[in-house]
Symmetry: none
Subunit: 319 residues, 2 copies
DNA sequence: CGACGCCATTAGATTTTCTAATGTCGTGCG
DNA sequence: CGCACGACATTAGAAAATCTAATGGCGTCG
C-alpha cells in the first residue's frame, strides 16, 4: 500500500483544480518546482501518470482525474474528522475546579470567562480565589484540578509548568505624587512605606531578595493578604505596593491608582500551573489554560503599548 | 483547517487499534517515542485529547474514537484511490515500441514479459532486437519509444538516464579450462583469443581502454555483432568473450559456457534508456522499465549468491 | 528569431522526522 | 515496603525529507 504524504496529495488536488503547476504553487504557498516534485513523487509512487502536460495547461489523465476525485473525498473526510473531534471535545461536560490568586482574578479572569463560557457551556466551573499556600494545599488534596501560583521549587505529588512571566509594577496613590507609567528605580526612591504579602507567599521572598540586593530602603512594611484592602489603602494613602502587571492593566490612565514599571533592574514574577501528579489535565482544563495564556499575552501587549506611549509623546514634544 | 500529516494520522490509527503506544510502534516500524510524538502532535494541532492514558492500556476518548473512525475511512479512501488510479492506468491501451540489445533479450526480457503481458494485456508490444547504433537511430527517428543502450555522451534530440550498471564477465568454453565462477584477472591470463563487438559499439571502446590500461594481452581479436554466433563459437572453441552478467545468468552451473567475474579491477558496463527529447514516457513504458530494473536487480542478486557460493564451499573445505 | 511562460531537474539550505537515551509513574511481586 | 519492570513523555541530536533558488529545456507568439 503506497504511503503518500498528504502534502503531496494536496499538491495533486491543487494542480487539478488550477490547471497549472504555477497557479497551484501560488495557492499552496509553495514554489512551482516544489509542486512539480510533489506531483512527480505521487506519479512515481503510484506508477501512474496523473497529468498530461499539454500546451497552455496541465490536464489530468483519466486515472489522474479519478485519483483527484478520491483524494478530495479523503481530505474532506479528514477535515470533517478534525471538526468532529473538536466538537466532541468541546461538548465534554464535567467539572473544572480552578484555583486563582487575586493577581489573576482581578483583570485576567473576566475576559477569559467571557470567551470560555460560551465555547464550553456544559463545563461546570468552580473557581477558588485564594493565596498560593491555600491553593497549593487544595491541589494536593485534589480539591482543585489545577491552580496558578508563583513559581516555586516543587512539591512531591505536584506537577508544574511555567505559565506566566510577568513584570512587577510599583502601585501607589495620587498622594505619593509619581507620574503615571514612568519607569521607577526603587533604589532611588525615598524610603518606602510598602504593603507586601505575608511570609508564606513566594512573591514576598522574591521582593525581600530584590530589596536587599539592590539597596531599596524600606521605612515601614505592612503585611496584607487581602488584595481589595491593599488597593483601597494604597489609593487613599502615600503607601505603595508591588504587584504584577496583569493585575493593574485596568488602572492604566485612571488616576485612582498610579502604576509605574520597576526598572534598572526590572523585577519579574513567574507563575506556574500546578496539578496533582497522578492526573492529566482534562480537555476543558487545557482549553481554559490556553485561553488564559492568550489573555495574559494580550495584557502584556497592552502594557507594552502603554509604556511606549509616553516615550512617543516625549519624543514628539522634544521635536 | 489543520494540516495533519498522514504519518501522524496512521500513528493515531495504530494506537487506537493496538491499545498501546509500544505495540503501535512495532506495527508501524517505528519507535515508541516516535509514536508518542506523532500522537501528541495531532492532539496539539487539534487542541483535543484523543487518548486517555490508563493503566495497562491506552483508551481513546470519545472524541478520539470518532476521530479514529473518520481517519480510517479517509485512509481507506486514499488506498482505494491509489488502486483505482493504477487500475485505470493499467487499462491504457497503446503501442509500446522497445529497442533492446541481445545483452538483454537473452535473459532479461523473457521474465519481464512473463509478468508485464498479463498485467497490461491491452498494450501492443513491438520489440526490436538490435545493436546500439541501430537502436539509437530508430529512437531519433521516433520509430521506437525508447531503447536501452550502452551509456554514451548523449545526442541532440535524445534524453537519457542511467538504467543498468552491470559487471562484465569473461565467457569461455570447456576447452579453455577455467574453473567456473572463479574471479579472473585478465592481465594474468595467457594472451587472449577474444571475440569483441564491432568498433561502433561503445562497450568495445571500453574494452579496448581496459585492456590497454591494465596490461591485458590479446593474441587475436575477432569482431562479431552476432550474439548467438558468438556464444556458439566460444562454447566449442578456446576463444573467450566479455559480456555483461545479465546475459549469462542462465549459464551459471551449466558447463556449456564457463562464466568468470573479471576482477582486480572489476569491469562494469553502464546502460541507459534513451528516448526522444520531445516525448515523455507513457505509463506502459514506465511500468515496463520498472519491471525491467527489478529483473536486472534480481539477476544481480542471483550473481551475488552464485559468486559467494564457491567461496563459502571453499571456506568450509578449509575448516 | 528572440522573448516569454511553464514544467523539469539539480543542488543545497532548512525543516521535519526519527531514534537513542533518559525521566517519570504506576503496578506487581518478592 | 521496596525494587524491578513496563509503558508513556520528553529531550537532544542525527538522518531524512522537503523546500526554494537557480537553471535548463521546450513550445508558442509576436
Amino acid at each position: 500500500m503506497p504511503n503518500i504524504p498528504l502534502r503531496q496529495i494536496r499538491a495533486v488536488i491543487a494542480v487539478c483544480e488550477e490547471g497549472s503547476f504555477t497557479r497551484a504553487a501560488e495557492r499552496e504557498n509553495a514554489t512551482q518546482s516544489g509542486i512539480s516534485q510533489h506531483v512527480a513523487a505521487v506519479e512515481r509512487t503510484l506508477g501512474v501518470k496523473l497529468f498530461e502536460r499539454t500546451i497552455g495547461a496541465v490536464k489530468p489523465t483519466p486515472a489522474g482525474y479519478r485519483y483527484y476525485k478520491r483524494c478530495v473525498e479523503a481530505v474532506g473526510t479528514l477535515a470533517h474528522a478534525a471538526e468532529e473531534a473538536r466538537s466532541l471535545a468541546g461538548q465534554v461536560t464535567g467539572e473544572l475546579r480552578i484555583g486563582l490568586m487575586p493577581t489573576f482574578t482581578r483583570a485576567v479572569l473576566a475576559p477569559v470567562l467571557d470567551d470560555f463560557v460560551p465555547r464550553c457551556p456544559e463545563v461546570r466551573l468552580h473557581i477558588v480565589e485564594g493565596y498560593s499556600g491555600l491553593l497549593t494545599e487544595m491541589v494536593l488534596d485534589e480539591e482543585l484540578d489545577f491552580a496558578v501560583v508563583p513559581a516555586f521549587e516543587g512539591t512531591i505529588g505536584l506537577k508544574s509548568r511555567l505559565l506566566v512571566r510577568d513584570r512587577e509594577m510599583l502601585i501607589s496613590g495620587p498622594k505619593r505624587g509619581l507620574p503615571p507609567l514612568a519607569p521607577v528605580r526603587l533604589s532611588e526612591c525615598k524610603p518606602l512605606k510598602i504593603v507586601v504579602p505575608g511570609p508564606d507567599n513566594i512573591r514576598r521572598r522574591n521582593l525581600d531578595t530584590y530589596f536587599q540586593s539592590h539597596g531599596v530602603e524600606v521605612e515601614t512594611m505592612l503585611e496584607m493578604d487581602a488584595m481589595i484592602a491593599t488597593l483601597e489603602f494604597v489609593a487613599r494613602s502615600d503607601w505603595v505596593t508591588v504587584l504584577p502587571s496583569v493585575i493593574s492593566v485596568n488602572d492604566i490612565g485612571r488616576g485612582e491608582l498610579i502604576v509605574n514599571p520597576i526598572a534598572e533592574p526590572e523585577l519579574h514574577a513567574e507563575f506556574v500551573v500546578i496539578q496533582p501528579t497522578r492526573r492529566t489535565l482534562s480537555t476543558q482544563a487545557r482549553l481554559f489554560l490556553q485561553r488564559f495564556e492568550e489573555e495574559v499575552a494580550h495584557i502584556h501587549d497592552v502594557w507594552d503599548e502603554a509604556i511606549k506611549g509616553p516615550a512617543k509623546k516625549k519624543l514628539r514634544a522634544a521635536i
